[in-house]
Symmetry: C2
Subunit: 529 residues, 2 copies
């Protein structure tokens, strides 16, 4: 957090100085803009409680349209995955090109069909010109209009960059700029295009299109508010902003973060309560129908996202119930390569407990090894040994951490990619240096709700379910973790023992195994556990 | 979060309507104000990179003064606890009265000693009058000045409510309102008073005094900036705001939240980068000397606050090391009352593992009982029984959850408060219904850094350190926790078994103990574990 914060501060200062330097216009388009993308100052500064009804209506519309958007994109994505994208990459490229062509055609042809309107009389100090001078970005676009003092309201939003279109929709003091007919046409076409475009093989965000859709119907509602509440000092642009918030709330279901974002990009703190309200209503309405856009898509992709709270039913289940249908596949500490390969081929588990016989013949669980790490070891082959317990200095540093890191842009290795000779299959592999020596454990009759919290809070991937312990070695309390000087001296002593044990290559057995295996520090983060 | 958010939205709307209703002035002082406490609009809207140096200087001053403040309050609080407050409550009341008297005298006498200054020429549309009309709150206080068009700059900040004083220090377009001499006098006196007042037996915040101190030296720096960078469009009030942020950052060491607060109370998003920078510098400088104000005070009070990250040394320690000097005191499931009493008297532990003999004679840890719960049981006496294993329907609902809740405003019961007859001491107590059946456990050789994360993320109070498990019953992965319809049916079945076992009063033994004891649902939250 601290680093992110520092970076933001530096970025802000640097951008500010660069913008100052560019103020004279020598940087072209780069000098324009700023942190406040859509400044709505100059518009409505206040609101009355009569406006709560139209604001609530915007919230409901946002919830409905947002939920519909999520549902439609879900269906289309499913269809794409099952039918379309299986036919190869050419189909994906063709699809993207086709949608791009449709979008361009619609953006150009629809405004052409629309008649131009005469320019309204604008306040001279508002900084808005109608039509705006050619070659500049601005409101009131003259799009093949016959007369000079006319503008095309559909082209003002359709045939424009999305940034400018939003600025035009948010603009204050531009009453009756858009006809209801144009806004509805735009809404229907843009909504359909956004649904179809989402999920094509093109990297594209959902934020700006969402603001576009929302601000369109927001402005529509704003127009009727201006018409019906003539006495109030309302502005259509304010309602466009609220509409944008409502659609994002209804689709993405974020509340607090969205609120902060909306305030940041528009620099208006006065409207915060209204934005809050609209977000709440749209989220509540949307939640009635389905889940948020990103949750739906993540679920479709098979990503195991856990909700923030365990399901009620988990309170009556225990840890053992969650792994009832499973057979645990263990590996001994020193395994034959052929055994490891057959274990990896026979199942799809991602982690295997490692079990060893203790001094008194009892079995002991000494850790967890990940499938991906086993695959790395099998592929590199440098750790294969002829006898189960070779003499000598023990483990040498034959690996770097980076060997075990999964590449971000691949699906990882598969056991089928690894080819071993018969001779290699007969060798042994000591897994001790590569395992996670202490994965989190829970007793088998722990409430599943508690296990759930453990997963969720620590971001775990695997957890061992073990029998109820037979004795308690000690109790740790919070105060034990506030190490004072005492703790420090105790540690230095311990550290040296641990290092000694490590250098011996093999520990004394019993409960004290290799205390700091190679990958241990990778695992402390919790993500890999 | 969702509920907090909803509440805020409702509050905002209600306050807004109430303020509208009060606009006519019929509510007295209640109609004034709003969400933006100190509106600094009308001041500096922009900044140049030359201002980064004075801003950095403000950050350094804030860090130094904040760290000094923390250190001084720490010493004084220590002295209070060891000497002053042991002498009884009268001393505390006398101390508070004395400090209040000193504060009043200083606030009144110091401005009297200061000469009045002639009113400057103010822009007519700035809304500021000099001196402000008697009977109203405002800037430029005429405090026993001989002439009508004079004001006393020290009284403007000293002899005023702190809210108004801050508004006056933040005020824009009031160049040279304060003399450096007055500001320095105020800073020294107010700083000393704040140090002495913090920790008296009076509930008082640290936020507004912090803003006062910071805005004083901020305005001082601002005055020299105005003097040296004459070409720049800077405002002294802006620097007062930055000074306030710097002192809070240097003392409380919050960054992100403080940033949001400063923007919220001043409604200026343009200055956010500067506020960020000043907070970063002051926090960094302060961290060099000591910890934040609240952390220092919490440590002094013995509250075991855990840092967000484990100490580096913990990576080389394991769970067993953290409880080396401890002797674990266990209780059997059915204990004699006299044994429980003697255990409670002989140590100060807050939790005790409960151990039972299984069917095959091996011992099994069946849960954890808290000292406070044992005390409740001993005091109520209704659960005492004549024989270790009575026949009959088992546990009746003789307790409510509320019996076990610790009152918020007391230190809890002590074993010395409980008086039992000899006859009662000879009875038995079955602890099974009252224990936490599955506290979190860690194997004894788990890295202490991992244990630390467990405590910190789950908010635990106790954890059991157990021997390394001998076998793995199962592995739970994230996907196992995404219950589908399958999971639901499996549960209903389980639930009935568990209920049956519960009604039998005693379970079959082995690993399946009482699965839902009375207090279990209290414990799932994690805080009580």
């Amino acid at each position: 957090m601290w680093r992110v914060f520092f970076t933001s501060a530096v970025v802000a200062v640097v951008v500010r100085s660069a913008m100052n330097w560019c103020d004279s216009g020598k940087c072209g388009h780069f000098g324009a803009g700023g942190f406040i993308i859509w400044d709505i100052s100059g518009g409505q500064e206040d609101y009355s409680y009569q406006e709560l009804l139209p604001v609530a209506i915007i919230g409901v519309i946002g919830g409905l349209l947002g939920a519909l958007f999520n549902q439609l994109t879900l269906y289309i994505t499913k269809w794409r995955r099952t039918y379309l994208h299986k036919k190869g990459k050419r189909v994906q490229i063709f699809e993207a090109c086709l949608i791009s062509l449709i979008t361009s055609t619609v953006s150009f042809v629809l405004p052409l069909l629309r008649k131009c309107s005469p320019c309204p009389e604008l306040e001279t100090n508002s900084g808005i010109q109608c039509p705006h001078p050619p070659g500049t970005d601005g409101n009131f676009v003259n799009f093949y209009c016959s007369k000079d003092n006319e503008y095309n309201d559909l082209a003002t939003i359709f045939f424009n960059s999305q940034d400018d279109a939003i600025r035009n929709l948010f603009s204050a003091k531009t009453f009756h700029e858009y006809s209801a007919q144009s806004l509805i046409t735009f809404l229907v076409m843009f909504y359909s295009l956004a649904v179809v475009t989402f999920g094509t093989a093109v990297p594209a965000g959902q934020f700006v299109p969402g603001i576009m859709i929302g601000s369109t119907y927001g402005r529509l509602v704003g127009m009727s508010v201006v018409k019906f509440y003539k006495k109030l000092n309302v502005d259509e642009g304010t309602y466009a902003l609220l509409g944008a918030a409502s659609f994002l709330g209804g689709s993405m279901r974020m509340t607090v973060s969205l609120c902060v974002i909306m305030v940041e990009i528009t620099n208006n703190l006065q409207l915060l309560p209204l934005i809050m309200l609209v977000l709440l209503i749209s989220k509540a309405v949307g939640d009635f129908f389905n889940e948020g856009l990103y949750e739906e898509q993540a679920r479709l992709k098979g990503i195991p996202l856990l909700d923030s709270r365990p399901k009620q039913v988990m309170r009556n289940m225990n840890a053992k119930d969650a792994c009832k249908n499973q057979k645990v596949v263990c590996l001994p500490r020193v395994s034959r390569v052929v055994d490891i390969v057959s274990v990896l081929q026979s199942n799809k588990h991602n982690g295997f407990p490692i079990v060893e016989r203790g001094q008194n013949g009892e079995s002991l669980v000494i850790g967890l090894i990940l499938r991906s790490h086993l695959l790395v070891l099998l592929q590199s082959k440098v750790d294969f040994q002829n006898t189960p317990f070779p003499c000598g200095p023990g483990i040498l540093n034959r690996h770097n951490f980076s060997d075990f890191v999964k590449p971000a842009s691949s699906k990882g290795k598969s056991i089928d990619d690894i080819h071993l000779t018969d001779e290699e299959l007969g060798l042994y592999l000591d897994l001790a240096p590569f395992l996670n020596p202490s994965p989190y454990i829970v007793p088998e009759d722990m409430s599943l709700a508690k296990v759930y919290n453990l997963f969720r809070q620590l971001g775990l991937r695997h957890i061992f379910v073990v029998p109820r312990p037979s004795r308690v070695v000690g109790l740790i309390t919070r105060k034990d973790l506030l190490l004072e000087e005492d703790g420090n001296t105790a540690t230095t002593e311990l550290q040296s023992t641990s290092v000694r044990a490590y250098l011996n290559g093999k520990t004394a057995g019993g409960s004290a195994h290799l205390e700091r295996p190679l990958l241990d520090s990778l695992m402390i983060g919790g993500v890999n556990t």
